[in-house]
Symmetry: C2
Subunit: 159 residues, 2 copies
DNA sequence: AGGATCGTCTGTGTAGCGCCAACTATTTAT
DNA sequence: ATAAATAGTTGGCGCTACACAGACGATCCT
């Protein structure tokens, strides 16, 4: 079509994302096992750290998982005191899920433990590039996960 | 430790990768259905396009999947003429797996179809940033997947 | 009081995938 | 030439992650 060498073919990162996530997850699984965590738990913890206190269904929306399965996931995390369920004062049906201090600490430990896995999978990238990658992923993941009004329970001013 | 604001906390992209891959995969699933493809097929096709002719076990190593499951995956793709299994002349036990023209075309179509999914998931990133992301992912995924000697069947000089 | 909503529990079904075992065709080593 | 290793295939078993549906109590909104 055009003489410009701008976009010769469609560049979709979906499959690459999938591929790398799998490679990472396989390594993470074994590295995380001694900590009693699975990759899936880390995703939840990461989202919770980023999102502050959210209701369970908000979490379900963010993680795009069925809410019934969120229950089990949170049970795991709460049993290990990594996460806390408090009833919302505004709406006592709701559980406000929040990372505990232990949770934040454990998440940090896990992230340290993941370094080796990341070294293997992202070995082709230099440190600066990895940081760029991280920043892009983080920003993409922090895309006002839910309609904003329901997600931010504690900060009604943010919107 | 240091006063520099360089690395206050560990930055692991593993969980983010996992999260975004999931979000992408869910959308891809429905978008790809009319094309008779699943996300997993796209990963394989993408790897094949990047890697040229590889043996099945090389593919298994790259995708980090059990080789018995590779068989079924390739059966799917070959049944749709997206992929071709030829016996290697050098070692007639081997199947050299290669993308057909139809396969390349179909992969391109699929990538176009994925645009909407990507728009939703990577909506927070500008086009230039998405391209950067793609490039980083692509390079990370192209990390001499196998020990190099076994992977490159057709090009024995490359190493 | 009545209806909707949030979370929980239970159960069912399915898909992805690892693992084991057996078998064939072929290559390599002895 | 015979034995051992390797590539692919098939079949089966089992586990895990999930989605989905139904029922229930607690709570909110009218």
């Amino acid at each position: 079509m055009s003489a410009l060498p701008l976009d010769p073919t469609e560049h979709r990162s979906g499959p690459l994302l999938d591929h790398l996530a799998r490679r990472m997850r396989l390594r993470a699984e074994s590295v995380l096992a001694p900590l009693g965590l699975r990759p899936r738990h880390l995703v939840a913890l990461t989202v919770l750290r980023a999102g502050g206190g959210t209701s369970q269904q908000a979490l379900a929306t963010t993680l795009e998982m069925d809410s019934t399965n969120i229950v089990g996931l949170l049970n795991d995390l709460e049993a290990r005191d990594l996460v806390e369920r408090r009833r919302s004062p505004q709406d006592r049906r709701r559980h406000v899920v929040e990372l505990t201090e232990d949770g934040a600490k454990r998440l940090n430990e896990a992230e340290c433990a993941l370094a080796s896995a990341e070294d293997e999978v992202l070995g082709a990238l230099e440190p600066a590039e990895r940081e760029t990658l991280y920043e892009l992923l983080r920003r993409a993941a922090t895309t006002t996960p839910i309609s904003c009004g329901e997600a931010l329970i504690g900060e009604p001013d943010a919107c």
